[in-house]
């Protein structure tokens, strides 16, 4: 009897102790900014999806968005962007990060990001993000200092003048615990 009780306790334990905490990206606005001497471009996507899994004190997050979901307000420019970034060949931009679970409680957090875009992978260390709680949800904002050269993208040009190499990506996300 005693052995049976121990066995039952042992069987039940993992479901309580090791259940990972999951986060789901509820809504997001991700935008890239590209500057040209004649005009600036802001491409915005609300189509990102994301998931986070926290386990054993570590959280792994994945955020992904279709490249063609970025809208700059000009279909011609968006198609050029899609071509320049080889968006049909590599249709998704993905961001991965691994954070200590306790960092999620802080107002500010620094994340090491791994971004896959245009068939290339770039890593960004210690990117600062701001965190605020909205009920049970968590609101995260920040800017990733991406550059076109990080992804081996030839800078598109207009009238013989290329856009600047800097392509800051602004992130505004709301995560919901599951």
């Amino acid at each position: 009897m005693r052995k049976l009780l121990i066995a039952i306790v042992l069987i039940a334990l993992p479901s309580f102790a090791a259940a990972p905490i999951q986060w789901v990206l509820q809504q997001s606005t991700i935008s890239y900014h590209v500057a040209h001497p004649l005009h600036d471009t802001l491409g915005v996507s609300h189509a990102a999806r994301g998931k986070g899994v926290c386990q054993a004190g570590e959280c792994n997050f994945l955020i992904a968005a279709p490249v063609k979901s970025f809208d700059s307000g000009d279909s011609n420019r968006d198609l050029h962007m899609l071509q320049a970034t080889r968006g049909a060949e590599f249709p998704m931009v993905t961001v991965r990060t691994e954070l200590p679970e306790n960092q999620l409680e802080n107002g500010a957090l620094d994340a090491n990001l791994q971004i896959e875009f245009a068939g290339q992978t770039a890593e960004y260390k210690q990117v600062p993000f701001q965190r605020s709680a909205e009920g049970s949800n968590v609101h995260i904002t920040g800017t990733i200092p991406a550059k076109l050269s990080d992804f081996k993208i030839d800078p598109p040009s207009l009238l013989g003048i290329a856009v600047k190499n800097e392509m800051p990506i602004q992130v505004d996300m709301t995560w919901k615990p599951q």
């Binding site: 042992l10 990972p20 999806r49 570590e58 071509q83 249709p91």
Partner: protein
């Protein structure tokens, strides 16, 4: 290059939620987690600190006592980082721990069976995820969400080389269109300016010939530029939005204008050459040319500047 060496210390054995794993901590603080595959019973050991330790493999000694003993071997390691070797420790789990491990492994198996249908819909995503797990293997695979978990439709995540080729061709042709269109601005402006001196009563003037020559060059460049815009492949399911709409709409003005202007100009030139006053429809040459040039300039501005 592979080698085998005893690790300095085995600190702990942990049973992760999904897969049993061996946690190894070196005296220098570097840690590794070995995930034990229940099928192959070979573990892929990851390393947190990049290339320092290379890959690790762990395997159990006796299949009958799966969780009772592990020998941990270092494969592909850099021996320099494994100095001061100590005798390898054999970790023995208690019966309770063994039971716990088996329960967790069973839980993991049932958990992993719930997701493949979604993952199978997306082979590239699956491959990508597998690749990523090899890159960053320091955590249990289940704790890392994959692209397949996000529920994107397969057609959104799959590569489309045909469409990329279409986009490449389109961009190439529109770049040529852009260059020729930009170059056209200069003879167009020169033609408009030289038009001021193309009148007069003389039957033959140099300025009139120059105006006609510049006009011909403008028309030639214009139609070359137009050819590349018209022949550039269209991307299906794309709706024209933004300032490009203005650019395209203005083509309905400067396009016919660029056909009419040389015709009217030729008529006017002919009348002047005969010593006649420009009369009839040829009188519209100047106004049509100005409207055409204005529309062309506006079309250029619509893509060059944001407003």
């Amino acid at each position: 290059m592979s080698c085998e060496a005893s690790i300095d210390a085995i600190v702990d054995i942990i049973c992760a939620y999904v897969n049993p794993a061996v946690s190894v901590v070196w005296p220098n603080g570097h840690s590794l987690i070995a995930q034990v595959s229940s099928e192959s019973r070979l573990a892929k050991l990851g390393h947190r600190y990049g290339e320092e330790f290379g890959g690790l493999a762990a395997r159990h000694q006796e299949s009958a006592s799966y969780f009772e003993s592990f020998s941990v071997k270092v494969v592909g390691c850099d021996l320099k980082s494994l100095r001061k070797p100590e005798p390898m420790e054999i970790i023995r789990c208690s019966t309770a721990a063994l039971l716990l491990c088996f329960v967790m492994a069973a839980g993991a198996a049932s958990y992993s069976q719930t997701t493949p249908s979604q993952s199978d819909q997306n082979q590239p995503a699956q491959q990508e995820n597998n690749k990523d797990q090899q890159k960053l293997p320091n955590a249990p695979s289940s704790s890392k969400p994959s692209l397949g978990d996000l529920g994107f439709p397969a057609e959104q995540t799959q590569a489309n080389p045909q469409q990329q080729a279409l986009l490449d061709k389109r961009t190439h042709m529109l770049k040529v269109h852009q260059k020729l269109g930009f170059i056209t601005l200069f003879p167009l402006a020169a033609t408009v300016i030289s038009g001021a001196g193309a009148g007069g009563r003389s039957t033959s003037t140099t300025s009139r010939d120059l105006h006609a020559g510049l006009g011909s060059a403008t028309a030639g460049l214009y139609f070359s530029a137009a050819y590349f815009a018209l022949r550039a492949p269209k991307v299906p399911d794309t709706h024209t939005r933004g300032q490009i709409r203005i650019h395209k709409a203005l083509a309905w003005v400067h396009g016919p204008g660029m056909v009419l202007t040389p015709i009217l100009g030729a008529m006017a030139f002919d009348q002047k050459s005969k010593g006649e006053r420009v009369h009839g429809i040829a009188q519209a040459h100047g106004p049509v040319a100005i409207v055409t040039a204005g529309a062309y300039g506006a079309a250029f501005a619509a893509v060059a500047f944001k407003f």
